[in-house]
Amino acid sequence: MSDRKKLAGSALGIALLCACTSVFPMGCMTANITDRNMNEVHMYSGENDRQFYDTDSILVVANKKHALPAGYEPGDLVRPQVEMLNECFVRQIASAALEEMFAAAEAEGIHLILGSGYRAESLQRELYDKYTKQYGREVADTISSRPGYSDHQTGLAVDISDHDAKTYLTEEFENTPEGQWLLQHAHEYGFILRYPRGKDAITGYVYEPWHYRYVGTDVANAIYNEGSWLAMEEYCDVEGGTYAN
């Protein structure tokens, strides 16, 4: 009898523990992020700040200095209900914001198309290997992330195309109505330009006017209000640039 009680007690305990752990970390995380504003930029403890390494955080950093945990795959990938060039998935939170953004653009006569979203580490490996075989590692590093280092693996990054895909993945995208609209409005929906112009040395990537990254509206507004193509690495005070080796 007492054994049974203990069993029931421990089961209840485990259930409670699970419930708590599933509620609290999220709570802490969102509190951390929403309370930020521009004045607090440098209050990030930079390299030591947990949230840039925490894959549950929408500020998780993936760049040539910060790999994601090996084999990381977001648990809440969904297919956004927007027009796309190819089947894409992104994390739920980014998907909702993306749908809102696309609808807002459409209302202003701007037709955006989603080109790419989440990219699995395995797919990134295939892409990188393909380029390495074709052009050698040095060139491959300039056109493709190494597996585990891609912003697309976070499930929070998107490549966006103009309405007829004429300038997709080219710098000319910047001058299309779609590119211009995004530069002015993406932050309202929580997206930032991930690889701004002239920040190659900081981000480790050339200017990509098509690549947007979801970071939430607070951080996106703060970065946008800075007004000078601030890179995520600068705002978060984390290391970027090229690979260590």
């Binding site: 009898m1 297919r79 060039l85 190819n86 089947e87 080109g115 797919l123 892409l127």
Partner: protein, 275 residues
């Protein structure tokens, strides 16, 4: 007090027995009901027997060796157009695929592509790689546009067009979910080197389009929606859409003429939807 304890114990025992029995019943149901569509054994048998000559004979003998089945099974196995592991698996407006079908052996072909992902079934991917390499040797740069498309994604595409243009127009530009050749994992949309004519009929006159029309069959691919065969296939001419059927069939179909359609060659029904 002891009687109460006993009663409680008995209750627990009863509950355990009931739940145990329930669990056993579900297990039993799973074990006996699921095998009805025993696909795997059957699929492997057909894969091995995938030859133009008399495939049904080998299929049936291997089938019986694999597992004793009910009588209706061999009939299904003998039909290469509905068997999901057959390279002749048919998807057109008269023949939907099994609901929710997804190939088990998809991978990314190791070729230059328009988007970052365009999975295809393993055998088709290997043939495509060979074809792209051969084209490159002839100075023709092919780009892979689109490969496998899931039924869910096709649903989103189709319903998006329905919302935008109405379903009547949607039917002319997109397959309904479950009816798309792309869901077989054996189809590829191919682009010219700079995507200038991608998904347009002008592809036909590019070096890429011409090369494909003359050589795709050597690698097991056929033009799925040939020119002038709209009524038969149910689709407008798509000089970019190629379908893997294996080298023997592809050569046989090409040898009839360069615009021979799948539906004509095999005498299967095509054309528009029933309603």
């Amino acid at each position: 007090m002891p009687t109460r304890k006993k009663r409680k114990l008995r209750l627990w025992a009863l509950l355990t027995v009931v739940f145990g029995a329930l669990a056993l019943i579900t297990l039993a149901i799973n074990a006996f009901v699921k095998p009805a569509p025993v696909q795997e054994g059957k699929e492997k048998a057909v894969a091995n027997a995938e030859l133009p000559e008399k495939s049904d004979v080998t299929e049936e003998s291997e089938e019986t060796a694999d597992e004793p089945q009910e009588e209706e099974e061999p009939v299904i196995v003998a039909d290469p157009f509905t068997d999901t592991d057959s390279l002749l698996l048919l998807a057109n407006k008269k023949h939907p695929l099994p609901d929710g079908y997804a190939p088990y052996d998809l991978r990314e072909p190791n070729v230059a592509s328009v988007y970052d992902s365009a999975p295809m079934r393993d055998e088709a991917a290997a043939a495509l790689e060979e074809m792209f390499a051969a084209a490159a040797e002839d100075g023709v740069t092919l780009l892979l546009g689109s490969g496998y498309r899931s039924q869910e994604y096709q649903y989103q595409l189709y319903s998006g067009y329905c919302d935008q243009y109405g379903c009547e127009v949607a039917d002319t530009i997109s397959s309904r979910p479950g009816f798309s050749d792309h869901q077989t994992g054996l189809a590829a949309d191919i682009a010219d080197h700079d995507r200038a004519t991608y998904l347009t009929q002008e592809m036909e006159d590019t070096p890429e389009g011409i090369w494909l029309r003359n050589h795709a069959h050597e690698y097991g691919f056929i033009m799925r929606y040939p020119k002038g065969k709209e009524e038969i296939t149910g689709y407008a001419y798509e000089p970019w859409h190629f379908r893997y059927v294996g080298r023997d069939y592809a050569a046989a179909i090409y040898n009839v003429d360069e615009f021979c359609s799948f539906e004509e060659y095999f005498g299967v029904e095509g054309g528009d939807y029933y309603e």
